[in-house]
């Protein structure tokens, strides 16, 4: 039974193109949502299907006409997929302005993939003061009006509050799943990754239904033998070759600070009378993330605290090549982990990487570091 559910996660995670076809054949309209935070709830509330666009593991050819080599492969491969027609049939792409590479993504997209409208979501970085809420709302209004134009759907406050609820429930389930998985070393890193990855493609209510079944089954299962416990941090950590190395070395991910994974689900929305304001407050409440202004770099301490709380043996930094938001944080994270006596290593990945030998060597020595402690 557990395997059957995992199979469903795997299918959605590994074949978003089939999912896209299914949604389209059901008469639904799809809107792509780029990293790191997009107001998916708005898309959802308008009866549209938000599907995550975090790029894909493929060689870059067409996108080279637009990007110099030193832009991260997430951004480049989104455009590559767009130019190759992988997104055909979708109604729009929403890109938030949270890092420099995302800013240029939208500008290039307009010319590289003119058939799919680009919708910018401009967020305030100084997001805590009261006045920043108005600016976030202005961004939402822009998104709503562009979505209405692109899809013909209309926005309703009432439906937004329903969606906010669905997203909160999904957040809660994702957090429970992470906790439960930490108690089950027998579930591989690869399987864990399918759960997260499928969440970016599936409608949240569908994903929540699967999570509920999964949790129920998992709780019945006897926990496997203890493995070395690690916390991962970075933007993306879904490369099958990397996950395979973790699994082969007997490392269990017991918590993560990955933008595409737990960072998405840690902040809930306090649903008030005004749905949009509630959503704007949710954005303002987000913290501890490399693409959000963080004057005291609390992210660093938060990560160390998480690692301690879950009794991790070490921290694995999965650095997406050319991701400067993460690259600036790495030395601070490394120093803080060292000071806390937590083994830490960094593995650099990108979506075109085929040779994982260096990563394997690093992870093997990481394992030794942890074992010898």
């Amino acid at each position: 039974m557990l395997d059957e559910i995992l199979k469903k996660f795997e299918e959605a995670a590994c074949h978003p193109e089939l999912l896209k076809e299914r949604y389209l054949s059901e008469g639904k309209q799809i809107v792509l949502v780029a990293p790191v935070y997009t107001p998916e709830e708005i898309v959802h509330s308008m009866g549209l299907v938000p599907m995550g666009a975090w790029g894909g593991d493929l060689q870059l050819q067409e996108s080279k006409r637009y990007f110099p080599a030193f832009i991260c492969s997430i951004v480049q491969s989104i455009v590559e997929l767009g130019m190759k027609g992988a997104y055909e049939g979708v109604s729009a792409l929403i890109v938030p302005s949270l890092c420099d590479s995302l800013k240029v993504l939208g500008e290039n997209w307009k010319y590289a993939v003119p058939s799919i409208p680009f919708i910018p979501m401009t967020y305030p970085q100084n997001r805590k003061p009261e006045y920043a809420l108005d600016y976030t709302l202005h961004g939402y209004e822009r998104v709503i009006s562009d979505l209405q134009k692109a899809t013909g759907k209309v926005f309703s406050e009432k439906l937004l509050r329903v969606s906010l609820q669905i997203y909160n429930e999904h957040n809660e389930l994702m957090r429970e799943t992470v906790k439960e998985l930490a108690a089950h070393p027998e579930i591989s890193a690869q399987k864990r990754s399918w759960i997260f990855k499928s969440a970016t493609f599936l409608r949240k209510e569908e994903h929540s239904a699967l999570l509920r079944q999964f949790l129920e089954e998992l709780r019945k299962q006897e926990a496997g033998k203890r493995k070395l416990r690690i916390v991962t941090t970075g933007i993306l950590a879904d490369a099958p070759s990397l996950l395979k190395i973790l699994d082969e070395n007997g490392l269990q991910i017991v918590a993560d600070d990955i933008a595409a994974e737990s960072r998405q689900y840690k902040t809930d929305c306090e649903i008030g009378n005004d749905g949009l304001v509630s959503l704007a407050k949710k954005y303002a409440a987000r913290d501890n993330c490399s693409v959000l202004y963080d004057p005291y770099k609390r992210r660093v301490e938060a990560l160390v605290e998480t690692a301690k709380a879950v009794e991790a043996d070490g921290v694995l930094m999965v650095l997406t090549k050319f991701c400067d938001p993460e690259e600036f944080d790495y030395p601070l994270i490394r120093n803080a982990c060292n000071a806390a006596g937590l083994p830490i290593v960094e593995v650099e990945v990108d979506r075109q990487m085929e040779n994982y030998e260096q990563a394997a060597t690093i992870i093997e020595s990481f394992k030794e570091m942890m074992e010898s402690k």
Binding site: P68, E107, Q125, H138, P295, Y296
Partner: protein, 414 residues
Amino acid sequence: MAEEIKKQRPAPDPNSAKYKLNMIAKKAYDDAFAAKERGELVGWCSSNFPVEIPETLGLYVCYPENQAAGIAARGGGERMCSIAEGQGYSNDICAYARVSLAYASGAPAEEQPMPLPDYVLCCNNICNCMIKWYENLSRELHIPMIMIDIPFNPDYDVPDAEVTYIKNQFLDAIKQLEEITGKKWSWDRYREVMEISGRTSRAWLEATATAKYVPSPFNGFDLLNHMAVMVTARGKLEAAEAMETLLREYKENHEKGVSTYRGEEKHRIMFEGIACWPWLRVTAHGLRDRGINMVTTIYADAFGFIYKDFDDMCRVYAKVPNAINLEYARDKRIKLCNDNHVEGLLVHTNRSCKLWSGFMYEMSRQIGEECDIPVVSFDGDQADPRNFSEAQYDTRVQGLTEIMQSRKEAQNAG
């Protein structure tokens, strides 16, 4: 060889714009050191942070980008970058940030020393990289960070909601700075600074616009030197006067038919991107040896900080080069190319700057088509000398020259 040439140079004329501008830049560092010694607080400030704020408050601030450029131009870029890399910073990070973080950690830089900061003033209208860099400064040095977020604008015009957001942050920043430094904000003084900044900006715009004359009365590489004053000191009276001197000199040059560009100006190009400071001489010679004058850059337009009031100032700061969308950025450049009779575009694909280079391929294609000029790019970096190849630069510039030459011949024949 370089030393020899230097020694033979006559003493600079203290009434010349060049001398005055260099002194202003130098004085900013001296004043900051003196302030630090007196026990006053000193800030570090990002280049497009509204200079009106520290100027009105009478604060002493230094500009890390300017420092990093100075260090790189004098040969210290690789050393400082390597120090930062040794501390764990990836060599993919903007080289200005690497140089600066190395300096902040205590690595000496005789090339351009600067007092360490007591607070940092960050504005991300040119890049979000700036936020990350200043966060690290703030954390590592245990000092407060004042942050003005000016988002990248995906539209042509600046929406009112953005102006309001920016204005509120400006007012917040003033309040924070009053608390940190004990200095008081005065609206009268602000209006004076605004006037002076407008005067300096008008002189700059007019001076750079004299490139419309053929031949141009100046060598565009001059602008790369003078812009430091535009960035850091345009609210100071000396800066306004020096820029007006510069304008007068360029006008006189034109009347006399002379130029700071030595040799015959055979071709006129626009240069796109930050200068390759470590390779300044090589890049300049590569042009001069072929009779190419870089007559304009986006800097010519970028420092037109002319506004009528506080709100308008907020709007202006949302329109700096890296804060605007492709179409607006493109149109500004097309105007510069047309106004200044540009015959070719040379693009620096700057490994340090994701935002500047990230949509440059498409934008320069569009400029090339619209202006009907050839476009050639080369790989480089504004401060890390390792990311530049002299041979590639030479080949690309040669290619550009040949196209411009053959077009000219075809025109003459036709």
